[in-house]
């Protein structure tokens, strides 16, 4: 029974990875799934480690467990002297203690390789095609860009994986999201993923694992693919996947924890079988033409509140059912009037970072728009690289100068304003053009207003002082985006 596929005939990529990791299958379809990589951060793990301690259990596979503090680490330079906030300090100290006591791989706060867990995993070569990857964090979906089955879990499950290196799972359904053709200039991976959520809604992927495919996805870099998969969860899906290809192998090759020599060759030959077979069954299919995708922004307090930048703020009556009341509440919270042009929305702040858009290509793209320009008067800007290595690379390329000259704060790596657990927060009523992934009420600080968009769109909004079509900014003075 061990590892036997349940299905004969054509299988999806998800089917293949799932089947390859089944340790035990019950008659009712409940499976014990082997976990290849377990990522751990400071907020959702303390009780899980404590559970092990109380029961005298060990971490079954410390070599497959990777810990890094990211959610509430400060991003200011003075963090080398310690964390001021007592609760944040205690949580980080606890991770420190647990990582050392249980012997898991660990990147402490002041290690150059520290960063957002979903950026560190791929960067260090922990995330590889065909793997199962879990973390007590919903944006674990990011790792699906490598053709790995990756999803978030709760604290009890964190403890379960620590102790047994397995997870109790039932199979999800298969959903295919195809982006055909090519993107137009100024349109990015972030616009793809937001456009998909705009079309399917935040519950569109519920109960499903999404596989993103099509020419526009193939054309994306690995970093762009990570941006797309990152937000599968905002579309309601447990995980997002993209079949590995030459770009994937190229990205992985030579990373510290990627296989080498004969193991590399063996891995490669397996990885090349990781694609959805012709004729595989899909429970749901969504197709979007790449040419139809415009630079988008969110106007409300749900990631599905997406509109092309040329649009106008909708009215509650434009919606149906429960969404009418939700839209009314959103507009009120966001301080917007129906019918106003999106490009008339003024911003007070720009946040560039997060596990969605905190990688080097994101910083290059934003810097490309900002080079030789300055934030509009009264607008504050913050750039938070996704990892210490991203930060170092950016400094080698002189991107830090571009940001600083444009009036931005150049920070150390962490989650930062994306969830405002550390001191990086929006003030009540403050409006932010953000490259992160959630625009919920209070997400970036109590009363703060978030508009989600791509790094180039956020940079452009900062210069203009209001939401703006990046293509117009680029047309004025061409820059290398």
């Amino acid at each position: 029974m061990t590892g036997t596929p349940t299905q004969s005939g054509p299988r999806t990529l998800y089917d293949k990875i799932f089947d390859a990791h089944v340790v035990d299958r019950q008659p009712d379809g409940t499976c014990l799934l082997y976990i290849d990589r377990h990522l751990v951060h400071e907020v959702t793990s303390p009780q899980a480690f404590e559970g092990l301690r109380m029961t005298g259990r060990k971490v079954r596979a410390p070599e497959k467990t990777i810990a890094v503090p990211d959610h509430n680490v400060p991003t200011t330079a003075d963090r080398v002297d310690g964390i001021e906030n007592p609760e944040g300090r205690a949580q980080v100290a606890e991770l420190d203690k647990n990582a050392r006591e249980f012997g898991v791989n660990y990147y402490p706060m002041n290690d150059i390789r520290q960063g957002i867990v979903h950026i560190v995993g791929p960067e260090q070569g922990w995330t590889l095609p065909g793997m199962t990857v879990v973390c007590g964090d919903s944006h674990t979906a990011t790792h699906g860009a490598f053709g790995a089955l990756a999803h978030g879990i709760g604290t009890s499950e964190v403890e379960h994986v620590l102790a047994t290196q397995t997870l109790i799972q039932k199979k999800s359904k298969n959903m295919k999201v195809e982006i055909t053709g090519r993107l137009r200039p100024g349109v990015t991976a972030k616009d793809i993923t937001l456009a998909v959520i705009g079309k399917t809604g935040t519950a569109g992927g519920t109960g499903h694992v999404i596989e993103y495919c099509g020419e526009a996805i193939r054309e994306l870099s690995m970093e762009g693919r990570m941006t797309v998969c990152n937000m599968a969860i905002e579309g309601g899906a447990r995980a997002g996947l993209i079949a590995p290809d030459e770009k994937t192998f190229e990205y992985v090759k030579g990373r510290p924890h990627a296989p080498k020599g004969a193991a590399w060759e063996a891995a490669l030959s397996w990885w090349k079988t990781l694609f959805s077979d012709e004729g595989a069954h899909w429970d749901k299919v969504v197709t979007i033409r790449g040419e139809d995708i415009e630079p988008v922004v969110t106007w409300g307090t749900s990631p599905e509140d997406v509109l092309p930048i040329g649009g106008t703020v909708p009215a509650p009556e434009d919606f149906e059912g429960g969404k009418v009341e939700a839209a009314r509440r959103s507009l009120d919270y966001m301080g917007l009037t129906p019918g106003m042009k999106l490009t008339d929305i003024k911003v007070d702040a720009v946040f560039i970072g997060s596990c969605t858009n905190g990688r080097i290509e994101d910083l290059r793209a934003a810097a490309g728009v900002l080079r030789g320009k300055h934030l509009a008067p009264g607008v504050r800007g913050m750039v938070v690289p996704g990892s210490g290595l991203v930060r170092m690379q950016a400094e080698e390329e002189g991107l830090d100068r571009v940001f600083i000259d444009a009036g931005f704060d150049w920070r150390l790596a962490g989650c930062s304003m994306c969830l405002g657990m550390n001191p990086d927060q929006l003030a009540p009523g403050e409006r932010c053009a953000a490259t992160s992934n959630r625009n919920f009420e209070g997400r970036m600080g109590r009363g703060g207003r978030t508009h989600l968009m791509s790094p180039v769109m956020a940079a452009a909004a900062g210069i203009a002082g209001h939401l703006v079509d990046v293509r117009e900014v680029l047309a004025e003075a061409p820059a290398t985006a």
Partner: protein, 201 residues
Amino acid sequence: MDKFTTLTGIAAPMPLVNIDTDMIIPKQFLKTIHRSGLGKNLFDEMRYFPDGTENPDFVLNKPAWRDSQIIVAGDNFGCGSSREHAPWALLDYGIRAVISTSFADIFYNNCFKNGILPIVLPAEAVEALMKDAENGANARLTVDLESQTVTGADGTAYHFDIDPHRKHCLLNGLDDIGLTMEKAPAIEAYETRIAQSQPWV
């Protein structure tokens, strides 16, 4: 998770209905990094005055009930949020069983994950046991999970129902992790196979 077989102990009477999870453990204690240590804040707002001193009228502050291991409570115990901190706080204080006519769903489930036995009995039985509980250390109750009975101070035994799988897990101290660990040979076999075929994992 600790096994639950039999328990003889002092029961605290809490006749209040709808004791919710906010009363059991108020929200300001959720920022903790621990599952243990919550016992001192169990029923915090009922147990302490705003200045932090003990409210002598609260049952667990009275000498006869300080060492309670059982709570006999009014209807619908544990309603409110899903916080697993509620059973964590009870357990940390030393409570291993709660008796009521009804429990909130999520709280009921969370108890089993933490080795606490929630016991549902008819109103008359809860009333009789509540009377016993009011006698504090002079009227210990005995809970026997194997025979599914609660025995009062006068020797009257009350039978309760429980899902067989949950009973099995609690009797043997098995949580999900414990159950999965019974499958260790299968996990090991998988790991051996993968070490051969995918040594890079």
